[in-house]
Symmetry: C2
Subunit: 333 residues, 2 copies
């Protein structure tokens, strides 16, 4: 049904119904000039804001409305996780081209509220306007953190080891499939597209890491390992030495990359959108942290290199050669 | 300079410099995964989120970058004012078409940060992405309020009087000039365009009204008096009887409307974007409130009608006739 037939007011009521189950009764959610919410006393607010633009960040109708709702929230929760915060509330605004109908909008909110419910995040309000151009999704997500536990990009020291919460490159493998489809096993295809369309933010992991008190810097891998480690290096005024043999390439990337004559490592280094956490810890703290993490999450953390005084991004290859690396992945402009 | 020549990183650094004077040193503003801020202990958060889309909400190059920055923040601060809250922080995201250069972006932030500084609002972060379509501005503004002082749309009672903080229709007069320019005095032109491009949010007024403890419902006039009073009526489950002779039409609307063969009253009723506050108070509380307001702000509040049990929007004309009114102004879809 067209939004102009359904009516803006009815659409917003339906959105408010979807969001209601995420909002506690003493809050004011969708429907007034602004939302009224509360965090715990004395805690600090952590706020992430992302714009996702059709044709730049996603393609329609390739991505379903539900997946788009999921992913739009997931990438913001991932930012909050990379700060070590507990997600609390989210504000959503959509600029809608005329060809999208109210079913699309409601399916978008279904995908988004399902993820919000999982992490007990209140969907509190926003805006819905017309767009003469592409669909634009604007998300503001907010969490809370104890000030002394917040994870910044800027605390890495030379000698710290660089770690990640999971193997990399699966989302980029999914993107390869979308850009040029090929014949491959159904399960592999499903895994690759799942990684690309429904990334799972490392919310509990980020919070847990922050509370250990040993993480010196953190970021989430959105633009690609190389670009994101460079962000840590710049903010922390140091460099990094990656060890090729230690970089965890995702099995999905290993299976799909060769079919496109690409190295799985390229997807892991430059692919982006993995939404794993990338963080640094002092070398002496690593093994206790890794063991405790394994016990808590039943999955390892991966050490993939160490921070250096020399402000370069370098890698020791499997053959033992030193290479200086340049980021070749996604550029915003 | 093109953004791709300047580089995204340099652009963000320059934006961060503009924003830095609005952010206190213990906060984390622009430059990490998310912003880290704090409100007072035990207060409630009020959050407004608006999308402004080129071609729908504004036209380029008609509006200057500075004015667009000012207005984008002003309309959100106006929402916070209509809730009776103190504005504290703002998050900004831009989807930028390729033809806009870095000077445009920085001038936008200059306009925005100037208003933010005036109201001591911290500009804390956001996102800057490319757009294959129109310029899209996404603003999330956040304030704080004591829960018992928050102004909602939903508390008006039959018998309450309806009031506004200022005369209406000047912004709509400015829009007439933009849609079809005509010869008119320079000072009049300037006032009309100023009202349209640089609305001034009623921040102190909203906060003051909330603290008097007598306002039963409030909204800001963004879509037009008729549409916005209808929002109060629906949320409060009542109707309204407007008195034509009491509706304060702005002198700029009175001077310009006749040149377009329009009634000034039409601009005041349907024009929108006045960003005055529209609110209700019990009849017995009006005169003391009006007197105290006059003393505090050196300007009157205007009583323009009363709330009714009958759920209609009606008006008594100057001739004494009763009319049922329909909103004929801006529809989002």
């Amino acid at each position: 049904m067209k939004i102009s037939d359904l009516g803006e007011r009815t659409l917003i009521k339906k959105i408010a119904q979807l969001a209601a189950k995420t909002v506690s009764p003493d809050m004011v959610g969708i429907g007034d000039d602004a939302a009224v919410t509360r965090l715990s006393q004395g805690s600090w607010l952590v706020t992430s804001k992302d714009l996702l633009v059709e044709g730049i960040h996603f393609l329609l109708p390739e991505i379903s409305a539900q997946d788009l709702g999921h992913k739009s929230l997931a990438v913001n929760l991932s930012d909050l996780a990379a700060m070590g915060s507990i997600p609390r509330q989210v504000y959503v605004a959509l600029a809608l081209p005329a060809h999208l109908d109210s079913e699309f909008v409601l399916a978008f909110y279904e995908g988004l509220t399902a993820l919000a419910e999982h992490f007990k995040v209140a969907v509190c309000g926003g805006d819905t306007v017309a767009s003469p151009g592409p669909l634009v999704v604007s998300i503001t997500a907010q969490g809370e953190v104890r000030r002394e536990e917040v994870l910044l990009r800027s605390g890495a020291q030379p000698g710290d080891v660089l770690c990640t919460t999971g193997p990399l490159g699966a989302s980029a493998a999914g993107l390869l499939l979308l850009q040029a489809d090929i014949d491959c096993p159904t399960a592999l295809r499903r895994s690759a597209l799942q990684a690309h369309y429904r990334p799972w933010p490392r919310v509990e992991e980020g919070l847990w890491l922050a509370r250990q008190g040993v993480v010196t810097a953190a970021i989430d891998i959105s633009d690609g390992l190389l670009k994101d480690v460079q962000e840590i290096c710049e903010a922390s005024r140091c460099g990094v030495l990656l060890r090729e043999e230690k970089i965890p390439t995702h099995p999905v990337a290993e299976a799909l990359a060769p079919l496109y004559n690409q190295a799985p490592l390229t997807l892991a280094l430059n692919g982006g959108e993995d939404y794993e956490l990338l963080f640094t810890v002092p070398r002496h703290a690593f093994s206790a942290l890794a063991q405790a993490y394994q016990e808590r999450f039943q999955t390892p953390i991966y050490m993939l290199g160490e921070m250096t005084q020399e402000r370069k991004v370098q890698m020791i290859t499997k053959e033992g050669n030193w290479e200086k690396l340049e980021f070749t992945g996604y550029q915003h402009f």
